[in-house]
Amino acid sequence: MSRLFHRIAHGARLQFRRERAEEDLREEIEACVDILADRKLAEGLDAAEARRQARMELEGPEQLKERVRDARAGATLDSILQDLRYAFRTLRRSPGLSAVAILTLALGIGLNTAIFGVLYAVVLEPLPYHQPERLALLWSSFEKLGTARAPMSGTLLKEILERSSALEGAGAIWVGTGTFTGDANPEQVKVASVTTNFLSLLGIQPQLGRLFTEEEAAGGRPAIVLSDALWRRRFAADPAIIGKGVAFSGRNLTVVGVLPPDFRLHFPADSNVPADVPAFTPFPNAIFKGPRTLYYLRVLVRMKPGVSPQDAQRDLDRVALEIRGAYTEFSAEKLTFHAIPMQGDAVREIRPVLTVLFAGSTLVIVVVCINVVNLLLARAGQRGKEMALRASLGASSSRIVRQLVTEGLVLCTAGFLGGIALGGLALRWFASTRPDQLARYRTATLDWQMLAYAGGISLAAALLFGLAPALEALKTNLVERLRDTRGGARSAAYGKLRAALITCEVSLGFLLLIAAGLLLQTLFHLRQERAGMDARNVLTFEVDLPGRQYPNDAARAAVVKRWEARLADLPGVSAVGGVSHLPLDDYPNWYGPYRLEGAEQNAGAALLADQRAITPGYFQAMGTRLLEGRHFEPLDQAQSRLVSIVDETLARAAWPGRGAVGQKINVERWQNGAFVPVWTEVVGVVEHIRHHGLATQLRGQVYLPYEQSSRPHLSYAVRAPGDPAHLAAAVRAELHKLDPDLALSKVRPMQAYIDKARAPADLTAKLAAVFALFTLLLTALGVHGVIDYSVSRRMPEMGIRMALGASHADVRKLVFREGLQPAVFGVALGMAASLAGAKWLASLTYGVSPFDPATYATAFTVVAITALIGCWRPARKAAGANPAEIIRNE
């Protein structure tokens, strides 16, 4: 209360002082005029002439006062407050214009800031590891593979470590699943098998205990490190957990450490290393002694200090050369290595998406600014007299500029506040969609980088808004402006500037429309395209078969068969099937070499195919179509003839123009814990299932009966009419009856995988559409504003034209031509820009050419209609001109 009183008193005192100072100034200048006039009188002039000359000598008392006010240090604040008050008054006087300006600014700034925030957090911010710029991922590449991003075999990694001089260390990781047992609540989790140096290579510190040591490598002391989340959930954040044993996938492991709460792995999606891994344990086998061609290790390296990624790559090129020289099979496969900086690799999939979105939202904010400048210029046209009046009353030009910039600042401050509010909401929504690729983006907070960014663009916009009209206001002759009732000679210059702005706006709108059109068609194609299955009405879940309960292939095959039968008996279930690797899942892919009859026995020349072990009901459960031959049957047992089903891609490649059924193919099956190459007979051909992404058909696929290749990792697909989620409880209950220790995980509809895979395309297409619509709206507004202004200034001309015999249609045509001309230029510019950017956009499109003529035609039509809509009302107004009345008014 007393503070409030104090502030009021302070304000009053300030006001009083200001008034006194103003009064003093007035009196002082009056006194000066008197003194000077006295002298003139003494020189013999008459009283009136003496005063006139005295005033002239003072260069005009009003102007002088203004200059004194400008000069006074304390006055700066005063005049700023004055400017602010004035700015608020001006904005209130045209509430419609102000509202449109502030609202569009808020939308533009909000969108742009939100997307910048995500871009910063995901792409630009350094990874949260020790000296992250020295970390890189190491990929191997073989000619036959069709990808430069294959994992590494243990032997190869050992060769690299022995030969390379650029690396300080290298660690490997492979993420599979495991099950915590030993209590009433078995839980299946993802578990990372790592080399003992992997976590320390990242340079992180555990929050409890320690990381792994050498003694825990390959068959040494059994140890496990837990994530913070798992430690809290399953072990109730027990600080005494360190040193205790836990039962995990049939082994007894000692907990040695707990990772910090914010620890995440930032690997690219195709490494199958998810961000949140609950548990880490050293590889149980000696990885460096594994088969030379078993490629499964995801390798992380730390470069020596001072070694650039280019240096490392040169060193690895040399190493690859040596290895090719030492092993003929690697020479035949043209083995090379690639060291990719971890920061860039982690975001390689999402970066193009975010970059396009950021570019799009930047275009939007540019269009917003153009529009607001346009509105302000239109108003400046109307305010020409006001400015001239102020100038003649003694306002310096810097003062007028300051006034206009203050108005811009007020607009932009409102826009900034609205923008960060909207941006905050947009971020919350963004975080709620949680696409996997945005693993680094988990918190919907406005941090200082975003505030600074939003503040920066607001300030830049404010300067632009103030300076554009100010330049116009100052350029022109004061006297002419005061005399002219409309703004006269300046209209031509204004018109040109504003037409240029319309051209920009239309071109950006066209560009965004093309992008939105292509991305929406991409989304449409992704929705329409068959992924090789029918994901509706399918429930999926994952089980882990711990070695203790299911020690051998036969035991596993037996329970899998029993479960399948029980699940099939559940009410409403029409099909059930198991698969070792569910499509679109993040479990590490299983692929291996295959050979055909007649091909020479050279591992290096082998072709590669994705491999899956499935149970007989799998294809029916997934809705995958059988194109030729038959499904697997219960009769395809472990001891019977070895059979396989291939997909159409492999069938076409292997036996072009011939039937695949009955052909022989050599593939590796999983037998007694190892991959064993065997000859199988193809009994069926199915359509290609998109395992790796909705838009990718990477390589052919070979399916083996689970009985003949019983991988311990298994997912189930259960088909039943209606919402698959309703089935979940029944499935859980049934399996719990069969094996109380069995842990189910990832119980979710197959559609969830499809949606997740489509999320980035979905997001880009929808946002691009929003951007394009918003820009079109702004363009229509902009065209309307410019043409309307021009028409209202040219009403007399219209009247005269009509008096001289022009028809309504003639006048309308005139107006439309004026509006469409800059729009046509804009389209031409926009087309040039979008053609130039097509290559860039092509990385995001699928099923549609970036030069798609239909999209261009549509965009052209839509932009033309937008411009026409913008001209509509002004044209009607012009045609409605009453010649007699207008000429009378002139």
């Binding site: 002082e28 006194a31 003194i35 000069a71």
Partner: protein, 110 residues
């Protein structure tokens, strides 16, 4: 009459302080005295004197108070404050340094 020249930037304050250090004066008086003392070389009009006076007053180097002029007119008289005195000394020294430096360069040239 000597051709009047522009007052070098930044030196107007110095000239005003120096003038007021001799005796208090009103605005027109300051302008008069600068013109007379500089032999008519510097013509500082009221248009530049008044803003400078207010600025100096706001900085606390001079103090204005109402008094009576020679012709029994009410006028605002300015006098220098102790801070103003100090400021004057400093500006003077600074100016002389510049003068010396510029002169020596010019002399060397010749």
């Amino acid at each position: 009459m000597t051709q009047s020249i522009d007052i070098p930037p930044g030196t107007l304050d110095l000239l005003i302080l120096r003038t007021l250090a001799l005796r208090p004066a009103h605005g027109v008086g300051v302008a008069d005295r600068i013109r007379v003392v500089s032999g008519g070389a510097f013509a500082a009009g009221p248009g530049s004197i008044f803003p400078a006076l207010r600025r100096l007053e706001d900085s606390g180097y001079i103090r204005g108070r109402w008094g009576e002029s020679e012709n029994k007119r009410r006028a605002r008289y300015y006098e220098i404050t102790p801070e103003g005195q100090k400021q004057l000394e400093e500006k003077k020294r600074h100016w002389l340094q510049i003068l010396a430096a510029v002169s020596s360069v010019l002399d060397q040239e010749a």
